[in-house]
Amino acid sequence: MTQGHTSEMPKMPDSMRLQACIPADPGRLPLLRSMAAALAIALDFDLDTMSDMRMAVDELGSTVVTRARPGSTVTCTFVAVDAVVSVTAVATLRSDEPVDRGSFGWMVLTTLASDVTAEIRTVGGEPELTMSLNVQPPRADR
């Protein structure tokens, strides 16, 4: 009897893009968390995916922010295409030490999200970290 389509559900545009530029301060991470939650709600993700996405963004944000050079800005972009959300965070680092793929944090990320990447490039003589991941509800899986 319950098929989740109601007439009042607004038709989502095919793509959306949200961006936040926050200081490299862990105290600002709740902003990213709220954005993630708001986007998941707007995309009508199921409650499990919604919560996974929020935790994944929290972990991603925290990984980037704690490595970022103090006083720098972390840019976080959410791109939603259909039911897939790609989250990318970019920051200038304190050091070019790579993100540890054997860590618990990495395991958390790869459990909660797919296509997790972390790349460090030199930009203008400084190491810059780009981390990204994708989140999508299980239905959207083939």
Binding site: T2, A42, S51, E59, G102, S103, M107
Partner: protein
């Protein structure tokens, strides 16, 4: 002889046995479990009484059970008080504490906080029907309210302060609870850097650790975990986020101090 007389005699015999056993005796666990199981209907009754609708929420029942486990652990038969006379106030105290602690940290319009509670109930029902967690539009349809209202309530739920059960290290009951659930033997050791992880994990209450392991090692969904441990999905979600946050804080500190 009535059933309750039988139960009473059985409980008395079990408490005698429990007090005769040495601290480390493995038999203690079994006796304790029997005592908890025997009195579970009392915990359910108390939960039902407080829920005000005859059908206690899972969380409430869980909280009353925690009170029961505490009572079993702390009851001293030599003091000459009947177990129930001791246990009932303990269980009620636990339930009251739950209500006191689960207030909204931000004052919400009554409509929203009521809707948020209804969402918890609806999400349980729908998860069972669908076999997975529902979406906001499915919740709205199920409850017969607008999607926007549901979205608003979910967003507001972000500021919901976790209930007392969520408080870390609040009491030893959290451990007792996972004993009852039967914590599976997880491969927490398999993660690299377990030297860093182990002390951090040791500071996480047992139940939270079990939930963490179910999500990240057994790859269960939150809805499946909720079903296994008898909490709501929203409660599991709050516990998981908070546990991760604690771990992150501790691991970051550890990283900084080893600075490899």
């Amino acid at each position: 002889m009535t059933d309750s007389d039988d139960d009473y005699a059985a409980a008395e015999a079990l408490f005698d046995e429990l007090s005769s056993l040495e601290k480390g005796d493995p038999r203690r666990v079994a006796v304790r479990d029997q005592l908890v199981t025997l009195h579970l209907p009392v915990a359910q009754h108390i939960a039902a009484k407080f829920s005000g609708r005859g059908e206690p929420g899972d969380d409430l029942q869980q909280v009353a059970t925690v009170g029961l486990i505490n009572a079993v652990d702390r009851y001293d038969p030599s003091r000459g008080i009947a177990f129930l006379a001791y246990a009932v106030p303990t269980m009620m105290g636990e339930v009251r504490r739950y209500f006191r602690d689960s207030t909204w940290s931000v004052r919400l319009p009554r409509r929203l906080s009521e809707l948020h509670q209804a969402l918890g109930r609806a999400s349980r029902e729908l998860s069972q029907q669908l076999g997975s967690a529902p979406t906001p539009s499915q919740l709205a349809h199920h409850l017969g309210v607008g999607v926007e209202e549901v979205q608003e309530a979910l967003q507001a739920g972000q500021s919901y302060r976790a209930a007392s059960l969520d408080e870390p290290g609040g009491d030893d009951a959290a451990g007792a609870l996972t004993d009852r659930i039967g914590e599976p033997d997880h491969e927490l050791d398999l993660v690299e850097h377990r030297a860093v992880l182990a002390p951090a994990l040791a500071r996480i209450p047992e139940r939270e650790r079990a939930i963490l392991a179910m999500r990240f090692f057994e790859h269960m969904t939150q809805t499946q975990i909720a079903e296994r441990v008898g909490l709501s999905q929203m409660h599991v979600s709050r516990l998981l986020s908070r546990t991760l946050e604690q771990l992150r804080e501790q691991l970051t500190t550890a990283d900084d101090s080893t600075d490899e």
